[in-house]
């Protein structure tokens, strides 16, 4: 274009960001998602009680990080796709299917998206929880647990050392509450309350932990 090349790949001005701490952990009875609740525009906290855990299907949820607008739009699209999937195939989509749709959208639009997503779901057929992370470039990684967002850098070591296979629900909540508590403590872009979603055979259970709950212990 007129030999003028301009880098337009910078962060969109004034965009709302989810400087974030998010994680999802499989355990004995299923999977638990967790997130902080801070949304920022520059140095201003646009929302201190955000819900970054979004339902995609009956027992498939996701943790969103990156641009709020992008991740909300992508989550809405996937939600729509999975609704169609269930109608056409007369059976609910698997967590893997949900993650695949996320991956397809995030990869094909990678130049225009700032979205890091962790997909987690409980599968009735296998009775197991599953965690698949879809980071920035649009790749797809099945994991036993996943952490992401700006705050996650501070808790890689802790999580690696303290995650155990097949923990109980109580152990897992404890583990996540402390991990996210530390992430919030050291990351300026994370904060507010800790929200969780517990996905098991019993369905979905929402939890909330206030600063006074997670700061001590």
């Amino acid at each position: 274009m007129n030999n003028i090349s301009v880098d337009i790949n910078h962060l969109k001005k004034g965009e709302v960001n989810l400087g974030t701490s998010i994680m999802a952990v499989t355990f004995k009875d299923g999977v638990i998602l967790g997130a902080d609740s801070r949304t920022t525009t520059g140095s201003y906290i646009a929302n201190r009680v955000t819900d970054k855990l979004t339902q995609i299907h009956d027992t498939i949820w996701c943790c969103r990080s990156g641009s709020a607008a992008d991740t909300q739009a992508v989550a809405d699209m996937v939600k729509h796709y999975l609704e169609l999937y269930e109608a056409q195939h007369q059976q609910p989509p698997s967590t893997h299917t949900a993650a695949s749709v996320f991956q397809e959208i995030c990869y094909t639009n990678k130049d225009n998206l700032t979205a890091g997503i962790i997909v987690a779901g409980y599968d009735k057929k296998t009775g197991k929880g599953e965690v698949i992370s879809v980071p920035l470039g649009g790749s797809m990684h099945k994991q036993e647990y996943a952490i992401a967002g700006s705050g996650s850098t501070f808790i890689y070591g802790y999580c690696d050392e303290n995650y155990k296979k097949d923990m109980t629900q109580e152990e897992t909540i404890q583990f996540m509450r402390y991990s996210l508590g530390q992430a919030i403590k050291w990351d300026g872009s994370s904060g507010g309350v800790i929200r969780m979603a517990v996905l098991t055979a019993r369905g979905v259970e929402r939890l909330i932990f206030y600063p006074e709950d997670y700061q001590k212990q």
Partner: protein, 270 residues
């Protein structure tokens, strides 16, 4: 082609980096808020419109009607909040005619966010959407890039920090309608007094479940212009006439042309 053209987007960005700024749109340096109460929701806005550091309108309207019971307060680019609000309001009416149902607040919010997301922030509309529908009272905020938030109370615009300070300190879970109205107008007043971009009056709209929305245009007018105590009119003859000279710049000439001879020359009968 209808819609926005982005042909010069890259060039304009390039020129901006070279120091040639692009023209600015009238921006509603604004304070807008919304707050839920038991059985309904209130939104409010100031009435100052600015263009640069000039007050363009002292009593503009920032509260827009999307549907009879869904209203929307707008901050950001004045033209964009106005147009996007009219467009979605129109589509929302068609939608409710199509379904033969009252429109829902989430529907309005979803239509707005999808429209704004499509334009990737180029439509500079920051909105607080509120209203009542068969599912109850709702309050959302929408940013220009298409992200949305849910909450019991919201504030947006350049005065949102001042307003949020009031909301955060005064809000409680058991507000009555009157208390919510007071809280919202107090929050807007904080913007009017403490934010340079906000000023003049407070507009307010109350939406109660199962009732018509009520718009209080100029709910507060804390900036009524005082009558001038003195007259600044100059009396006739205040300015002395020192010299008078009159020039005739046009010369008028009259010449009478007769067409009679030409008309006679035409042979009518063969």
């Amino acid at each position: 082609m209808p819609g926005l053209a982005f042909d010069n987007y890259q060039r304009n960005n390039y020129l901006t980096t070279k120091g040639y700024g692009s023209p600015t749109a009238t921006s509603t340096g604004t304070t807008i808020v919304g707050c839920k109460f038991n059985g309904g929701v209130v939104i409010a806005a100031d009435t100052r419109a600015t263009s640069g550091d000039i007050v363009a309108d002292k009593n503009c309207e920032k509260l827009h009607r999307l549907a009879p019971q869904i209203w929307c307060a707008g901050a950001g680019t004045a033209a964009d909040t106005e147009m996007v609000t009219q467009l979605i309001g129109s589509n929302l009416e068609l939608h409710s005619l199509h379904l033969n149902r009252k429109p829902r607040v989430v529907t309005a919010m979803t239509m707005l966010k999808q429209h704004l997301y499509k334009y990737q922030g180029h439509i500079g509309a920051y909105l607080i959407v509120a209203g009542t529908d068969p599912t109850g009272a709702h309050l959302f905020s929408i940013h220009a890039h298409g992200s949305t938030d849910v909450g019991q109370y919201q504030s947006l615009g350049s005065g949102s920090l001042a307003a949020m300070a009031v909301l955060e300190s005064e809000w409680n879970e058991k507000l009555t309608k009157e208390e919510a109205m007071k809280l919202c107008s107090d929050a807007i007043e904080a913007g009017i007094w403490n934010d340079l971009g906000s000023g003049s009056n407070v507009d307010l709209c109350v939406m109660e479940v199962g009732q018509d929305a009520v718009l209080y245009r100029n709910y507060l007018t804390p900036n009524v212009r005082e009558a001038k105590t003195r007259s600044y009119k100059f009396g006739r003859g205040t300015t002395a006439v020192l010299r008078e000279s009159i020039y005739s710049l046009v010369e008028v000439q009259e010449e009478i042309v007769s067409f009679k001879s030409a008309a006679e020359a035409i042979e009518v009968d063969a």
